[in-house]
């Protein structure tokens, strides 16, 4: 059945699915939750850090939140090793854009670049997709504060509030009810979400 269409990333199944991409998305559902909420004066992101062992040396920096440039950052859910590659790509892209145009890269363009990079691993090369989902948050003069979510397929969309990682379905339905009630109270919602 679906088995024989599993191994190759670059082959559709008869039902029109890319199984490798879907399995990658499954891998992320076991990772630490990340919540992102867009407010009128900024974006709030919160992440759950999974402590796997008390023997682990204290991390020099976060394994969840990364600065991409002066005006954008991202939160990661999934394989940290895969994420590091993509974050470096994003930083290079933002830097090269600023070098070429002497202007800050619009947030959506940065997101699209990372996503295009991810998409290539679902269509060429026989390599597996990246097992990472991102929440991108940033500001630019064109659209103000923005929040984007992306997944291993290379697909992305803009959100007012969203959740990735473990229990994201529960988180999303919570946000669906709560969001918009009082936009300023992100902390309340964040706490609610983490539960």
């Amino acid at each position: 059945m679906a088995r024989r269409y599993d191994s190759s990333t670059t082959t559709f199944s008869p039902e029109g699915r890319l199984h490798q991409v879907e399995y990658a998305i499954e891998a992320i559902n076991n990772a630490g939750t990340c919540v992102g909420i867009l407010a009128k004066d900024g974006v709030v992101m919160a992440s759950e850090k999974k402590v796997t062992s008390s023997l682990l040396a204290p991390a020099k920096s976060s394994e969840k939140t990364y600065k991409l440039c002066q005006h954008a950052a991202c939160n990661v859910a999934g394989l940290t090793a895969d994420a590091n590659i993509l974050i470096d790509q994003a930083r290079l892209r933002a830097g090269r854009y600023a070098y070429q145009y002497c202007e800050a890269i619009p947030v959506e363009q940065l997101v699209e670049h990372v996503c295009n990079y991810k998409q290539a691993y679902t269509q060429y090369g026989g390599l597996r997709p990246f097992g990472v989902a991102f929440l991108f948050a940033g500001y630019d003069t064109h659209y103000g504060f923005q929040l984007y979510q992306s997944d291993p397929s290379g697909n992305y969309s803009g959100w007012k509030a969203t959740v990735i990682g473990a229990n994201n379905q529960a988180g999303k339905s919570f946000l669906k009810n709560e969001y918009g009630a009082k936009k300023e109270d992100e902390d309340e919602k964040m706490k609610g979400c983490e539960e």
Binding site: K67, L68, R91, R96, A98, Y99, C102
Partner: protein, 215 residues
């Protein structure tokens, strides 16, 4: 080599086309770096506010003398690389590391170089002065007294050698640096038309504009 010839003008080295004068000097737990502000097209003066010293971070300054387009490009390139370093390493660039980065970037273009001769000045982790100068392909020289670069280097070497003293305090360093620069550019047609001096100490930077001869 690297010569330009515009009609009704004599042959000139490409490094002298725009004109520049930069001095960096070390003091007691402080550094100073100064530049002129002239931008010319050979004999014609085009701007009197073209600064050639750029702040990379609170402790690192770079002065870029030479062809103006390369000065601006190198500044952008350095900002790009510095930004990448700070994002990846989550710490600031020290002057020594910055100097090595610059040297490396210049040598990458060994057979088609940037026409600049930079000067790096800053304070290291212990607030001790760091100075370095290099040629257009990145050969560095490290000193603790002074480094000069530009079209008036002969003048600047003479002035610095005469006026320099070890362990000057920031105020005295400013005076020395200013006098050395002003006197040097007055005898050079291609530099001058204003000057800027930055004095860097652990407590911060003080930048002053000098009023000099505008000819």
């Amino acid at each position: 080599k690297y010569q330009v010839q515009i009609s009704e003008a004599r042959k000139m080295s490409i490094l002298e086309y725009n004109g520049a004068a930069i001095i960096a000097m070390g003091g007691k737990d402080c550094v100073g770096i100064a530049c002129d502000t002239r931008l010319g097209a050979q004999a014609q003066t085009v701007s009197c506010d073209f600064r050639k010293v750029f702040k990379m971070n609170d402790r690192t300054f770079v002065g870029l003398a030479g062809l103006a387009t390369d000065v601006l490009t190198m500044n952008n390139l350095l900002k790009f690389r510095q930004n990448l370093y700070e994002l990846r390493e989550e710490r600031q660039l020290t002057p020594k590391v910055f100097s090595n980065l610059l040297s490396n970037l210049l040598y990458e273009k060994r057979f088609g170089p940037y026409f600049i001769e930079p000067v790096v000045a800053g304070l290291d982790e212990n607030n001790k002065p760091f100075l370095s100068g290099m040629d257009l392909i990145g050969a560095p020289v490290y000193t603790d007294d002074f480094v000069v670069s530009g079209t008036a280097t002969a003048n600047m070497y003479g002035m610095c050698e005469t006026l320099y003293k070890k362990d000057m305090e920031p105020e005295e360093l400013f005076e020395t640096l200013s006098q050395a620069l002003l006197a040097s550019v007055d005898r050079d047609a291609l530099s001058g038309w204003g000057a800027v001096v930055h004095i860097v100490t652990k407590d911060g930077v003080i930048s002053r504009e000098l009023k000099g001869r505008r000819d």
